[in-house]
Amino acid sequence: MTGFFSVFTVELLNSGIRLATPVILAALGGALCNKAGVLNLALESMMLMGAFVGIVSAYFVGNSYIGLLIAMASGGLLGLVFAFLYHKYDVDLVILAIAFNLIIQELTVYVMRVMFGNVGSWSDPSINRIPDIEIPLIKDIPVLGNILSGYNIIVYFSWAVTIVMYLVLYKMKFGRHIRAVGENREAAETVGINAVRIQTMALIISGVLSALGGAFLSIGHLKLFTRNMSNGRGWTAVAAALFGANHPIGTALASLFFGLTEAFAVRIQNVTDLPPNLVELLPNFATLIVLIFIALREKLRENNARRRFRAELRAEEQQKAAS
């Protein structure tokens, strides 16, 4: 067998980027919601909805790009309903998310079977996969060209969203408002920011992005829909947003990390003598390590805060004693 290092190829990065794309999109949506102070654990359902609506509308309209747009609209609608139930009726966010995830998982299968007969996965030869695009100029750069070029539009879009979200959140007034609502809703409302509107928009945007990630699965990467196609990627996205500390660029990199681990696990089997069952655990193992890392980071932050607080107390006491 070839050497261990032979897996570190451009194709590994390509594969990792493709696997990461749906997670990046959903995780950015999740991070935005977190920034706006509204927990969105329904990313999984929004992604699944996008995967289903994307391929079905691509089939009926006959154009996969329009399929993408309809998928995004369906995700946005889901986000809107989520926001409506939360704001109007004050439904608990976790319960709401569980309900969404359950309903969408079964609803997609139900509708698929009603429309296309008794099937667990569905595809049609008339559906076109979203084509891969080579970027002129960039594709001619040696090595880097192969890494950066040759994906479909959704992949490039996910990069653009990362940057735009960073700029909006940290360089624009609207972004400041979002963060203000997330950090202290009452204070933000006191200065006249409409918190409900901001959170609603965050939920809609996260729905749109997650659904696009889902559509990437069904018409961007493969060309079929299977029940529960998102297969936990929405939850990976929740973890990625946490890992990336809700910062758009950190979140995107965290998602990329998960994608690369998966691509790595796929490839490493043929170059090591490790038992395959162990290698397959790699992505799960990486997630665990990351979660531990997040927990430690939180702990460290808490400890620091406590230490600072104690030091201040002590300083105060000393001052009192001195006077």
Partner: protein, 367 residues
């Protein structure tokens, strides 16, 4: 306000349960029959098939469902299909079927321990497993069919070994277990038999049988490493393998059912595992009164329970494949028939991964 909240919650919860019910639990699909013999007298026997996952894998589960359809059409029986959403629902579905009082309860790919315990608990109920159960001993009311797929996989290996240009072949396997490796080792032996300097890449998916995205990327990785024909043994994840073949313009070999039509021109052939026949046979045995629990019934290539899609007359690749590959089909078919005759005559032994100590297995696994 609070009442409204409660109402909304109630609707959500009930709604989700409703859809869960629709998608999964006893959604008994009454297949075929009614139209054909609506007038037929009371069916003498009833039976139920519990599927390990929902229908529609275009593979193993659908094959078994065809056996049920056939039984409904040809035998005086009324059989239902009870779909489940995975391991967590198997036991409840089996118990539900027992409670319904079916004459025969068929469990497809149910955990062996679970199945045996249940059979012991209900000694009056007849059970059958149309596919392998890995137990040393069966309860007296449970029959287990075993379809030997290593020989059919060997034939697929011969095809791949004959038709490859790159001399690198791939296997994308759902999980690393003795049962799943029947496919892998048989295929590998077939490849090496006709192409001793060929290399076979094997990737496992960690028993993730419903993740086509992973199947696609795994197959792409093998094609990048130079493979030109990849054999998929991974249920619904395998659909991603077939898709990968079409995407990169290379080839795949399907499994369990005839999958040649899924990506016409990219799938050379499919290894057939006639779970429909074992399903049908177990129902027929109850009808004929020959049902005898406690035994393993082994079927294989010699019984016509395993083979290639070509045996069923599939010509999808001949019609849609590229000319240079189609030109090689005649050679491949000749080799297949040559070895098939040898195997059936007992002159040639194919590695069965369930018996890894046999000389033919040592030769293959040792690679």
């Amino acid at each position: 306000m609070n009442k409204r909240l409660l109402a909304i919650l109630a609707i959500l919860v009930v709604g989700s349960l409703l859809f869960t019910a629709c998608g999964s639990a006893p959604s008994t699909t009454e297949e075929a029959a009614p139209a054909a013999d609506e007038t037929a007298a009371e069916p003498e026997f009833t039976c139920a098939l519990i599927t390990p996952n929902p229908l529609g894998d275009r593979s193993f589960i659908d094959s078994s469902a065809r056996g049920i359809e056939q039984a409904n059409a040809e035998l005086p029986v009324k059989c239902d299909i009870i779909e489940t959403n995975g391991v967590s629902e198997h036991e409840a579905a089996l118990r539900g079927a027992v409670a319904e009082g079916y004459d025969l309860v068929l469990g497809l790919a149910i955990d062996a321990e679970l199945f045996a315990n249940l059979a012991n608990e209900f000694p009056e109920q007849n059970f059958s497993s149309p596919s392998e159960l890995f137990l040393d001993q069966l309860p007296a009311n449970l029959v287990s069919y075993q379809v030997e797929v290593h020989e059919a996989s060997f034939l697929a290996g011969l095809v791949a070994g004959t038709m490859t240009d790159s001399k690198i072949l791939g296997v994308v396997n759902g999980g690393d277990s003795p049962a799943m490796n029947q496919f892998t080792y048989g295929f590998k032996q077939g490849v090496l038999e006709v192409c001793p300097d060929c290399q076979v890449l094997v990737s496992y998916l960690g028993f993730d049988f419903s993740n086509p995205t992973l199947g696609l990327e795994t197959a792409l990785a093998q094609y990048e490493q130079g493979a030109d024909i990849v054999y998929q043994v991974a249920g619904r994840s395998g659909e991603g393998v077939l898709e990968a073949a079409a995407q990169v313009g290379k080839y795949a070999i399907g499994v369990d059912s005839n999958q040649d039509y899924i990506q016409p021109g990219s799938i050379i052939t499919s290894v057939i595992k006639r779970v429909d026949q074992t399903t049908f046979d177990s129902i027929a045995s109850v009808v004929n009164g020959t049902f005898e629990g406690g035994q393993f019934i082994t079927k294989g290539m010699k019984d016509g329970f395993a083979g290639l899609s070509w045996d069923e007359g599939s010509t999808a690749f001949e019609e849609s494949g590229p000319a240079d590959m189609v030109a090689k089909l005649a050679d491949a078919k000749a080799v297949v028939e040559e070895y098939r005759a040898k195997i059936l005559a007992g002159e040639y032994a194919v590695c069965d991964s369930l018996y890894p100590d046999t000389p033919e297995c040592v030769a293959v696994i040792g690679e």
